[in-house]
């Protein structure tokens, strides 16, 4: 008599939570929209701060997935809260009666073309962080043509009320520094500039990476937000910002401009929230029961949240969040279903 736990989203958080709950003895069903598990990790080349290939943590996560029922290319058709459980119909026709549901839908990358003035999709040499990661993996992109001057624009679609996102996306600063170093590795002759508003190097070893970028790669950090980009006749870019430290406007000609698109709430996640009549918080991400003490509980019994569904997170934060969610689900099921409690006691007694 095992409880069914449904996990929505097969990114790192969903995978980690599945593995944990599987070990705790629950019947875990994981569904993923795309055809492979891993979420955004699949599209990232290397990870900050040490530059570990994204495939490494992905493989580690995969290894623990034994026994988890995974449905890829599958979405939620409908979800209803019943008395004690959820009735979920999947797009592949299967109906799941889940005693607990974990939403690990992750985030969407901000659509950089919404920031009209940066000319993404219009100018030849404007790309996003995701495009650059794809290039690191494939080394093929017409827009990246042996650039001599490369600029990174921090906070594209983050800390920007005009773009509908007041919050900080947390990971872009350090990602930009990481990518700046990688660009220098790929094009040693290039001069790299980072245009930032505030450099938020909050995590362990992040400051080391920042130091490395300055010391080993000579990346120039300019405190000022880029707010106008135009294209020269030769397709190079004329970028305007203010060097706020010297209180003067600066302009610079660049061969490549990388926009650090931030994290937005997942649209697919929003659809599920709408089905359950759950109002998101102001930032668009899922609302939790308590931001300090009940971070993994949604405002509905039996519904749990993990990873970037509740706001921007780094990979280790997402994984830790997933483990917390697994523990919270275990507590919940033990409290609600007496037979689970009995089963647990039985297991304990028999050693």
């Amino acid at each position: 008599m095992k409880n069914n736990v449904l996990i929505i989203g097969g990114g790192p958080a969903g995978m980690e939570a599945s593995a944990q709950l599987q070990r705790l003895g629950y019947n875990v069903i994981l569904i993923e929209r795309e055809s492979t598990l891993g979420g955004h990790l699949n599209r990232w080349d290397r990870l900050f701060p040490e530059g570990v290939p994204a495939s490494e943590p992905l493989e580690a996560l995969m290894k623990n997935m034994n026994g988890v029922k995974c449905f890829t290319d599958t979405e939620i058709q409908s979800i209803n809260r019943l008395d004690k459980s959820f009735n979920v119909i999947l797009s592949n026709g299967i109906t799941v009666l889940a005693d607990a549901v974990l939403i690990a839908c992750g985030f969407d990358l901000f659509d950089a073309s919404r920031k009209e003035e940066y000319g993404y999709g219009i100018y030849d040499h404007v790309i996003t962080n995701a495009d650059l990661e794809a290039w690191f993996q494939s080394k093929s992109d017409d827009r990246i043509d042996n650039p001599k001057r490369v600029g990174f624009v921090h906070c594209v679609g983050s800390r920007d009320e005009k773009a509908g996102c007041r919050g900080c996306s947390k990971v872009c600063c350090v990602t930009a520094v990481k990518e700046a170093c990688e660009i220098k590795e790929a094009f040693p002759d290039a001069q790299v500039y980072c245009f930032y508003m505030d450099l938020r190097m909050f995590g362990r070893h992040y400051e080391d990476l920042y130091l490395k970028a300055q010391k080993d790669y000579g990346v120039r950090f300019i405190r000022g937000r880029v707010s106008e980009v135009s294209e020269n006749q030769d397709r190079s870019l004329l970028v305007k910002a203010e060097d706020t430290l010297s209180s003067k406007p600066v302009q610079i000609t660049l061969d490549l401009l990388v926009l650090m698109a931030g994290m937005r709430h997942s649209e697919a996640g929003r659809r599920i929230a709408d089905m359950l009549n759950l109002a998101p918080e102001d930032d668009g991400f899922f609302a939790v029961r308590n931001n300090l003490t009940a971070n993994q509980q949604a405002r509905m019994p039996g519904l749990f949240l993990a990873g970037a569904a509740t706001g921007p997170k780094t990979l280790p934060e997402s994984l830790a969040d997933a483990r917390s969610a697994a523990a919270a689900i275990d507590h919940y099921l033990t409290d609600i279903f007496p037979q689970t409690r009995k089963l647990k006691k039985l297991v304990k007694k028999n050693g």
Binding site: E117, R159, K162, R225, S227, E228, E242
Partner: protein, 109 residues
């Protein structure tokens, strides 16, 4: 007073004691957005007038926060009021009204 043989020049240092809270509050009453600036410099970067002359809303506001009203007015005299700064401000500050309000309050001092 001991004569050390030299005098300290106060002018090279920003003196926050000079900050006129009352006047700044009058500005805030007219345009509450003045509190919201995080000094990213977007406004100065796009400024139409800054191509030709010293003009910047960010610098003007910064000067005000440091108690230099006259400098703020000077910063905004060349403003052409085109509204580009309002369009790019990530905090959604109504910079045009801020400029009018600064000119109105500090320009009259």
């Amino acid at each position: 007073m001991v004569d050390f043989g030299f005098s300290l020049s106060p002018s090279s240092r920003i003196d926050l004691d000079e900050f006129d809270r009352k006047t700044f509050d009058r500005l805030l009453a007219l345009e509450p957005d003045a509190k919201k600036c995080m000094e990213c410099g977007s406004c100065s970067a796009v400024c139409t007038a800054s191509r030709y002359t010293e003009t910047s809303v960010r610098r003007a506001l910064h000067a005000l926060r440091n108690g230099c009203g006259a400098q703020a007015v000077e910063e905004l005299k060349g403003c052409q009021f085109c509204g580009k700064c309002t369009m790019v401000c990530p905090r959604g500050i109504n910079t045009r009204h801020l400029i009018l309000s600064i000119l109105k309050i500090y320009g009259a001092l």
